[in-house]
Symmetry: C2
Subunit: 248 residues, 2 copies
DNA sequence: TTATTAATGTTAATTTGTAACATTAATTAT
DNA sequence: ATAATTAATGTTACAAATTAACATTAATAA
């Protein structure tokens, strides 16, 4: 491994793309030499060759943090949620795809707040932004990148929470909000009780499938943000119980 | 966005590579069509074009979890550390590049243990393995992916720890082990005191630069694993104070 | 139905990649 | 130190992939 190759690898580690033509000029060697370097890096699993260059190859643990992009509806819901977050507050963001989208938009916003979360993807998105991130401790679930268990709940006692933003696996205009996991429900229950205000962010189709365990009744939440496809019947039920309903 | 394009994106989301030739056959279209699809995906930031195809583009939060590969010495040290981990124990793995390498090797091992850590990369590496992962809560540091602070320390009280494996920023055969960060030192002190045994894993060059804050004196640790470049003088000092020294 | 637009296919020219061999630089043995 | 050997780099001709321009087909609107 020579100096040129080390410098090229350094660039890859900095997540830079390599252009064969450019690097050949920089190092004053034939393009073929850079090409051979890049072939070596690909064999070593460091790079992926592109047409005319190479890009860094991301290692496996990092790939676990890839979360699918949010739907258009989720993006709109998240944008609306952001408007309801006061500056300089303690926000609890629980795990979920819609809440992750809230985190993404928070990362790009000017809000200076403190976010408490049990979701590793949320923490990852907010890492190295203006936002202070606090992770609840606890057991890492084997199927999703979030923390649950008695210690997670105990951790919540350490903080004052102004606002909770959470999603749900299922919902009902009469009953309230549901999740599929019993342990997760316990954690959500505690969060709802602890925080001064609760905003539910969820796509409207969740209202057509109540899930396993209830973690909050409708009257326990302050605001529900969902999309316009919500049935008129459900909408009126929610508003009648005095809950703020925002349709996007 | 048509059906073909949706299916191609699905593949990318599953982290699969696309081959223009293959996909052209699968969807019974001209290679040019697939090429155009892939051009679109690149514009959207979903894919990176390679020579003859495309690979999924990893999103930014995931990229934060990329940690440089361990050195040859670190790999050897980690391998030795693994031999000293009993099956069915509670292991505390603190944050650091050498401990991360221990985690990588643990992930590939047959050990069935529970790992408590304050490092997000360690948690990521051990995610979805046989190993149960517990994260301490606390504040996410802005420069490194680990958790520190009073709540982190309080979290440690919740667990019994058989063995602590940790690295250091600096070391001295007389004084003991050091770290650069005051808050981190507090956390490390507590870990050392809590755990029945402590193994230090560190490259020998750390013995030539004592760092800022001491978190453990030499007699508080059980074993030191380092490379053979350790000076004979340091080696004899360590063994004379009754500490097990393993040179790899 | 026809006009218009969008999507896909086809082709030739360009660029990039490969493989084989030539040349130079670096090691090793003598 | 010099020759022999090996490794690294350069050069060339050829193969493959990409691009760009235009032709064709399918889809949509007038």
């Amino acid at each position: 491994m020579n100096v040129r190759q080390k410098k090229l690898i350094e660039k890859l580690h900095k997540l830079e793309r390599l252009s064969i033509e450019e690097e050949a000029v920089i190092f004053k060697v034939a393009p073929m030499t850079i090409r051979r370097d890049i072939q070596l890096f690909e064999k070593q699993g460091i790079a992926i060759r592109t047409h005319g260059g190479a890009v860094p190859r991301i290692s496996e643990p990092a790939q676990l943090f890839i979360q699918p992009d949010a739907s258009a509806a989720q993006k709109k819901i998240a944008r609306k949620a952001l408007e309801l977050i006061p500056d300089d507050c303690n926000l609890m963001l629980s795990a979920g795809t819609t809440t992750l989208e809230v985190a993404r938009q928070l990362a790009a916003s000017d809000l200076r707040i403190c976010v408490i979360t049990n979701s590793l993807p949320v923490a990852a998105v907010l890492f190295q932004t203006k936002i202070q991130v606090i992770l609840t401790g606890g057991s890492l679930r084997n199927n999703s990148l979030d923390l649950i268990g008695p210690v997670t709940e105990k951790n919540l006692d350490e903080y004052y929470i102004d606002l909770l933003i959470t999603g749900c696996d299922g919902a009902s205009a009469e009953e309230g909000f549901f999740t599929k996991d019993l342990n997760l429900a316990e954690m959500e229950k505690k969060s709802v009780k602890k925080s001064s205000r609760t905003i539910i962010v969820t796509e409207s189709h969740k209202f057509r499938k109540p899930a396993f365990v209830k973690f909050a009744s409708m009257t326990e939440v302050s605001t529900v943000i969902t999309d316009k496809k919500l049935s008129g019947e459900d909408a009126s039920k929610i508003t009648k119980s005095g809950i703020e309903l925002v349709l996007v």
